[in-house]
Amino acid sequence: MAFWIELAGSGLITGGIYALVAMGLNLQYGLMRIMNISHGEFLMLGAYLTWLAHVAFGIHPVAFLPVVALALFATGLLAYRLCFRRILRTSPSVEAIEARSLLVGFGLMYLVQNAAYLAWGADMRGYSFLADAIEFGGARFAANGLVAFGFAVAMSLGLIALLRWTLVGKAVRAMMQSPVGAQLVGIDTAVLHPAVFGAGLALAGIAGALLSMVYEITPGMGEPYTVTALIVITLGGLGSASGCLAGGLLLGLVEAFGMHFTSPSLKMLLSYGVFIGVLLARPKGLFAR
């Protein structure tokens, strides 16, 4: 029994991170169809920032979370200003925005990932943080994993609440439904849109910081998370924050149990299998009504 709890727990911990990464990407894609394929690279930046702060200055990783979020938010504003704003202004159609932002995303991915290789090398990096095990009814979990899971779920729930019950959240949802309509009812999209894009990257940065507490990090770590985030978005439905949370946790569980019953080398096959299956059977997401 304890074993199954541990297995489910490890799946949920990964799933929580997936949910957080996917929510960030969903914010960017839901608005104006910016397909930011370099999303995972910013997760990697968050992880490296946290690692650097901890190793060089001994800063507590959890205390450093707000700094990571702010730094990535600023990076997001910059990336938006330099790259994506022009695409939005010059593209003739939504499809063109999607295709061009995808290509720019690839460019950013090359740029950021290789800059990280250049700066920090290809070696695995890591630090020890709360590595003791905690027991729950016979099942043992690493404390850092629980911390990461707690923060990921809390952040996700916070975001869902923000979107659902605050005025800003309402404005963001309005903008997702119709950018022009939002402008007509007095929402300053020129301010809100970059801010939401930045918030998406901030979420990726936080996810990276949480990951660095649990796993070793490399400059190439971000890419698989981008793909996974897309799978989660597909599962949960475009533009749905609560769908992201459910989809992320579900995918984490599917991976954990799937790998247990087949083989760890099939992890990617499992995710893609789920992805293709959902796209074929329920292209609007599992929870679409």
Binding site: C83, A99, L230, L269, L280
Partner: protein, 305 residues
């Protein structure tokens, strides 16, 4: 056959004949560089035939390329090399048709991500298969053909690919593809069987990517999933075609030569800095020259009028 097409075909034949002399004129280094140029020219032109015309951004090139390469890896020794090349192409085309049946109704980012996933999917599947049933990670290719034979084969495949793309552009199929790119709903209303057209073109472009993979695989004496399914091959292809101008025929060809030379010269010495440069170039081009370099030379036909 109209005059334009006849001119393009005779130019292609002349260029191929001229390039066929490279093995007797150049050193090994230049021969290998020429091989890379010709390979990317073939990949980029056939990618542009489907994705450039329709706007369906396929990132599956490395999947098709790898499938072709694995046909060679499995068949070399039992079947002649020259038979394996079309076989590799057919395997990739069959795979593309199957995948196309399932996913070609998706547009935009979903299609791009799904096709990117395909490469990874096939790579992991083959890795798993080889580990479990063949108890090996990679395969050593013995008695490979001479490098001049490989070069000439790749040149032949690319020449056929360019000719095929020129023929497609001048045909009803090409018009239908351009129509899908301009407005798929309208093309459908005007009586184009968009589903069939997309699958045929997707499979045709996969055929050439697979054949090129099968032909080039013998270049490496050791074939393993991570080298032949390298996503870099797919990215580089897309990059070359987009930078050159994916809606034209000459654009991808010209930029294939430029970028293959750049890659070979810079990538080994400054691997990370070179890729950063590529990334920055891609961003700048998409932002300021979305039609590719070819738009600087001549304006492409308006497709949105």
């Amino acid at each position: 056959m109209n005059a334009d097409l006849r001119r393009t075909l005779s130019l292609t034949a002349a260029a191929a004949l001229g390039l066929a002399s490279v093995p007797w004129l150049a050193s090994d280094f230049w021969l290998s560089l020429a091989l890379t140029c010709v390979m990317y020219a073939g990949l980029a032109v056939t990618w542009a035939m489907f994705s450039g015309a329709t706007g369906y951004l396929s990132l599956a090139t490395s999947a098709f390329f790898g499938i072709g390469a694995y046909v060679t890896a499995w068949g070399l020794g039992t079947l002649p090399y020259l038979l394996l090349v079309p076989l590799g192409g057919l395997a990739a085309a069959a795979f593309a048709a199957l995948v196309g049946l399932a996913v070609l109704h998706l547009r935009g980012a979903y299609f791009a991500v799904l096709t990117f996933g395909l490469g990874e999917l096939v790579r992991h599947a083959i890795t798993y298969f080889e580990k479990t049933y063949a108890k090996t990670v990679g395969r050593v290719l013995s008695d490979v053909p001479e490098s001049s034979v490989v070069y000439l084969t790749v040149l032949l495949v690319t020449a056929i690919a360019v000719a095929a793309c020129a023929a497609v552009r001048a045909s009803r199929l090409g018009l239908a593809l351009a129509g899908i790119g301009a407005d798929e709903g309208r093309a459908q209303t005007l009586g184009v069987d968009t589903r069939r057209v997309k699958i045929v073109a997707f499979a045709l472009s996969a055929f050439f990517a697979g054949a090129l993979g099968a032909a080039v695989a013998v270049r490496w004496t050791y074939v393993e999933p991570s080298s032949v399914f390298n996503p870099f091959i797919g990215f580089q292809t897309v990059l070359i075609a987009m930078l050159g101008g994916a809606q034209t025929l000459i654009g991808p060809l010209a930029s294939a030569i430029v970028f293959s030379i750049l890659t070979e010269l810079l990538r080994l010495q400054f691997p990370y800095a070179y890729l950063m440069l590529l990334g920055a170039l891609l961003i700048l081009l998409v932002l300021y020259l979305p039609g590719g370099i070819a738009t600087l030379i001549h304006r492409p036909r308006r497709t949105d009028g």
